[in-house]
């Protein structure tokens, strides 16, 4: 099985430890992971701003780099969703279709392909899971509160494999954090307000560590937490699954 690792641009630049954790975790699970080092971005920041046509070069570049892999794994529900959903605007060659079909979020790859049911990691903290919208409602990584469904939560299942970890119930288990890509700067006041409200829910519920499958949401939330100076810890789920310690 040839696995291509896709590390989204903001993780590459700002949170390399999340990329490292993802890579190490996959290697621990026995995977041969390749990292095509010419990769840049999935193009979502442009497309969400309405510049899809300018993003098509990036899409083609992505496909050209990744189409030879059986699976393309990314520690991001949002970027994965973008590749699967929005690469529909370029010519649907065999390569494009292959890439769209086989780009998976880390949690999907672990549970649906590797079918793991145990992990060797320990994280004895109260953890609040922020369900990123694109992972939850885009990739259906779990049941959302709007739909009537019996799906299981993939991120919840993975965190359940971590020894000592206590997953905290939130008042609003799947409300948006307000990141929303360029929304965060186009509507910065609103975006920050949404983020503050999310953080307050975690803090009021006794969360010690805030986690998510998407570092983009966490970048936004962490930015607010640091501005507030409250000391809530923020970790990407890959770091926790890989056995990070505080």
């Amino acid at each position: 099985m040839k696995i291509g690792l896709f590390i989204p641009c903001y993780i590459d630049q700002f949170y390399p430890q999340v990329g490292v954790a993802t890579l190490e975790l996959l290697e621990k699970l026995g995977c041969q992971v390749h990292y095509p080092d010419k990769q840049t971005c999935c193009g979502q920041p442009l497309a969400n701003s309405g510049a899809e046509s300018a993003a098509t070069h990036i899409y083609r570049h992505f496909v050209q780099l990744f189409h030879t892999y059986d699976y393309i794994v990314a520690p991001s529900g949002s970027c994965t969703y973008h590749v699967r959903k929005h690469f529909d605007c370029i010519e649907q060659t065999g390569e494009v279709q292959h890439v769209r079909k086989h780009t998976l979020d880390l949690s999907e790859f672990l549970l649906d392909v590797l079918k793991i049911d145990a992990l060797d990691s320990r994280f004895p903290y109260k953890v609040g899971l922020h369900q990123s919208c694109h992972g939850l409602r885009g990739l259906r990584l779990g049941p959302d509160s709007e739909r009537v469904s019996q799906e299981r939560s993939k991120l919840g299942a993975l965190l359940g494999m971590v020894e000592g970890l206590e997953l905290v119930d939130l008042k609003r288990p799947d409300e948006c954090c307000g990141f929303g890509g360029t929304f965060a700067v186009n509507e910065s006041v609103l975006s920050v307000k949404m983020g503050k409200d999310r953080i307050a829910d975690h803090e009021n519920s006794g969360v010690e560590v805030l986690t998510a499958g998407d570092m983009s949401c966490l970048m936004h939330l962490e930015g607010i937490i640091r501005r507030q100076g409250t000391g809530l810890h923020v970790k990407h789920i890959a770091e926790i699954l890989n056995g990070v310690q505080l």
């Binding site: 919208c133 990141f179 186009n186």
Partner: protein, 456 residues
């Protein structure tokens, strides 16, 4: 551009009030979730409703003709209005023909859209909105902020003050029961004295030629059955094919709207009462044009439940008035660009694209996908300011060139580490206004990988 952002910022300036507004709507959203989860076939009903509406859109011309023929057979007079102006003129002509001076009207977003009240008032006709929320905002001379709960933005103290001024209630009275009772007395006088009644339409049944109107207050019926003349105004998209389809839609509508199992009154009007007249005005006003936009036509499936507003994290924290249109929130943001792309071009951007609206929608409109697609249209039509366009094109150029991307990434991180804080957090840094920037590491993942896994 970005008028919504400015209005939202102003709304949020009063943070406790923003929290109050958010909590009011979240309460309804939670009620909705609970009742939806009590119906095991909920998702099946949504799919059915969606398919029925797809069928309606694909056969709308035939259904409208069928509806008209049946309505005529029922002794109803049917009128067609191409736009808002024609709608208002037709309504006025009917009213003038009966010498109507006093008119009562139950909630109708269509007549709001057409600005019927202002039009009729100019012609000297007294128009009284009889839904309590609508009456409140009518007395305040402002537009509704929500399509189901028009006065959701107001506090009881403000309504108490308004009623003290306009309905002579006790000074300082804020008890909702007391204020509602005062409105009841005031409105009963208006019902009894009305010469005509107008209602909106929730559903128009093609096979029977009748219209269905849903209220909780009973105000549509109080108006219609007391006045000698009844007029129902409907958009062309209100059609459903069969009476049996009402079973699907009435199960979805109130549950989605307010978390009730059904509205208190679901009224079916087919023929006028003895010696009375019933009119139906069928309005296009841009809807047939929307039908011609394949990416956006299914916005016409909307049954105006308002669930997308209640669930929208943006709407809840920016208020209905921040959208600047009769129908606010996610559904408003996909209807308005088709009406005026220049004026409403910022609304598709007033969303984090969280997708909650699409999942809550009882007729499964892919609202957030349409927001995404409207963004593409806005940019294509030149709706972005030059600076943003340059930034986006620059980013596109850089992100398709790995070496350039790597170089600029390194440069940016270096700059972020070295530059003084006041330089980084300048007034153009929207991110930094309420948030810290990420702490840039010395090494990107790419650089780490080269160093640690050089052979892969």
């Amino acid at each position: 551009m970005m008028e919504h952002a400015q209005k939202a910022s102003r709304f949020i300036e009063n943070e406790s009030r923003t929290d109050w507004h958010d909590a009011s709507l979240w309460f309804i959203r939670t009620k909705r979730d609970r009742v939806a989860h009590n119906i095991p076939e909920w998702e099946q009903l949504r799919e059915l409703a969606s398919q029925i509406k797809d069928n309606v859109l694909a056969n709308l011309d035939a259904y409208l003709e069928q509806f008209e023929a049946q309505a005529l057979k029922n002794g109803v007079k049917v009128h067609w209005a191409a736009d808002a102006e024609a709608h208002n003129r037709i309504v006025h002509d009917i009213l003038a023909g009966h010498g109507v001076r006093r008119l009562v009207k139950s909630k109708s977003m269509l007549t709001e859209e057409c600005h019927l009240n202002e039009y009729l008032s100019r012609q000297g006709i007294e128009v009284v909105d009889t839904d309590l929320g609508e009456r409140i905002i009518q007395l305040r001379e402002e537009p509704p902020s929500h399509i189901v709960m028009p006065a959701i933005h107001l506090k009881k103290e403000e309504i108490g003050e308004l009623f003290y001024e306009k309905l002579h209630t006790e000074k300082g009275a804020t008890d909702p029961a007391y204020l509602t009772e005062a409105a009841r007395r005031h409105l009963r006088e208006k019902f009894v004295g009305a010469d005509a009644a107008i209602t909106g339409v929730n559903f128009a049944v093609a096979e029977t030629g009748g219209v269905v109107v849903c209220t909780n207050e009973g105000n549509a019926d109080m108006g219609v059955h007391l006045a000698p003349l009844q007029i129902h105004c409907m958009g062309i998209e209100k059609i459903i094919p069969r009476a049996a389809d009402l079973g699907v839609f009435t199960r979805l509508l109130a549950r989605s709207a307010t978390g009730q199992p059904v509205t208190i009154y679901t009224s079916h009007y087919h023929r006028p009462g003895p010696g009375r007249e019933m009119h139906i005005v069928i309005v296009d006003n841009g809807r047939s044009a929307q039908l011609g936009r394949p990416d956006f036509r299914n916005s016409l499936k909307c049954i105006r439940c308002g669930a997308c507003m209640n669930t929208c994290p943006v709407y809840r924290r920016s208020g209905g008035h921040s959208y600047g249109y009769t129908i606010p929130g996610p559904i408003g943001s996909i209807l308005t660009p088709g009406i005026d792309l220049k004026k409403y071009g910022d609304l598709p951007f007033a969303s984090s694209l969280c997708g909650s609206c699409s999942d809550v929608c009882p007729v499964r409109i892919d609202i957030h996908q349409q927001l995404y697609r409207w963004r593409q249209v806005v940019v294509k039509e030149g709706g972005l300011p030059l600076v943003k366009r340059l930034v986006l094109n620059g980013a596109a150029w850089m992100l398709s060139r790995p070496a350039v991307y790597g170089f600029f990434g390194k440069l940016m991180r270096k700059a972020m580490r070295r530059l003084p804080r006041r330089f980084l957090y300048n007034r153009f840094n929207e991110w930094g206004k309420g948030r810290e920037l990420p702490e840039p590491p010395r090494q990107s993942f790419n650089e780490w990988h080269k160093q640690n896994r050089s052979r892969s």
